[in-house]
């Protein structure tokens, strides 16, 4: 088993606040990890540190074999990040947006169409401005843009929020597929019940540190 995320005593500061205060965690290839914890526990920050968007100020952090203290940029091309924001150009049409995202990650336009179909965004919506989509539909387009890049590490922040029941099941299915094909998935979610969660492991953060860990399944 190779570790995809390996944190030792990581401290990260953002906006003058210690968002991670000595976090230890190791995540191995193929795991589906659910992050839990109350608001401000550090879930979002953990995902952003993994993505190299927040610098670490203390400790050791390795993501996909890259030392984040030396290089926060290189791992990014293998990572898909779904943040609180959808990262959408709301003026563009769905398909135009997807084409741009596909081209920006070096994928083909055909991949973009396939990703949209996979998320149940039908052709009918392709030439509609994103502005006019509902919150759930936007989230689907956002997940589709992430799918196009075929990331090895999936980082999702509250991916189930805004999705309807059908959308959630679809997302779970996609995440399971990704994990079974060798990708690693980390998602933050406090509303998902443990009994229905697809996670192979549940990690609880508190105050920017690890509080509970169900361990590798």
């Amino acid at each position: 088993m190779s570790s995809v995320v390996d944190f030792h005593n990581v401290v990260a500061v953002a906006g003058g606040f210690p968002v991670l205060a000595g976090l230890d965690i190791e995540i191995t290839k193929g795991e589906i990890v659910q992050l839990r914890g109350s608001n401000g526990a550090g879930k979002t920050s953990f995902l952003r540190v993994c993505a190299g968007l927040i610098p670490i100020s203390d400790g050791d952090a390795n993501v996909l074999g890259f030392d984040l203290r030396d290089d926060r940029r290189s791992p990014r091309r293998y990572i898909g990040l779904l943040g609180h924001d959808n990262h959408l150009y709301t003026d563009l049409w769905v398909r135009e947006h997807m084409e741009f995202r596909a081209a920006a990650t070096g994928a083909e336009a055909g991949d973009a169409d396939a990703a949209l179909r996979r998320l149940g965004v039908t052709d009918r919506l392709w030439s509609v401005p994103i502005e006019r989509l509902s919150a759930g539909q936007r989230r689907r387009v956002s997940i589709a843009s992430m799918l196009v890049g075929r990331p090895q590490l999936w980082l999702l922040d509250e991916p189930h929020a805004a999705l309807d029941h059908e959308g959630r099941e679809l997302l779970d299915e996609i995440l399971l597929d990704a994990a079974s094909s060798g990708a690693t998935v980390v998602f933050a979610s406090h509303e998902r019940d443990l009994s229905t969660s697809i996670a192979s492991r549940v990690v609880t953060l508190r105050g920017g540190r690890l509080s509970e860990d169900s361990g590798v399944a």
Partner: protein
């Protein structure tokens, strides 16, 4: 304005500007120093620089 008054105004204004700035700097230093208290004084040892987080 006569030459003498102009010169006086120029020198006076310049002096006031620089002195106000100097007083502001010293005053601000004292205010923050007081906030930091004794702890602040200890932290001012030269070594304290190396304990700062090594941001990239």
């Amino acid at each position: 304005m006569s030459e003498v008054t102009t010169v006086a105004t120029g020198w006076g204004l310049s002096f006031v500007v620089v002195a106000t700035y100097a007083l502001w700097v010293v005053g601000r230093g004292k205010t923050i120093g007081r906030e930091l208290g004794i702890g602040g004084r200890e932290k001012l040892e030269p070594e304290s620089d190396s304990s700062k987080p090594a941001d990239s």
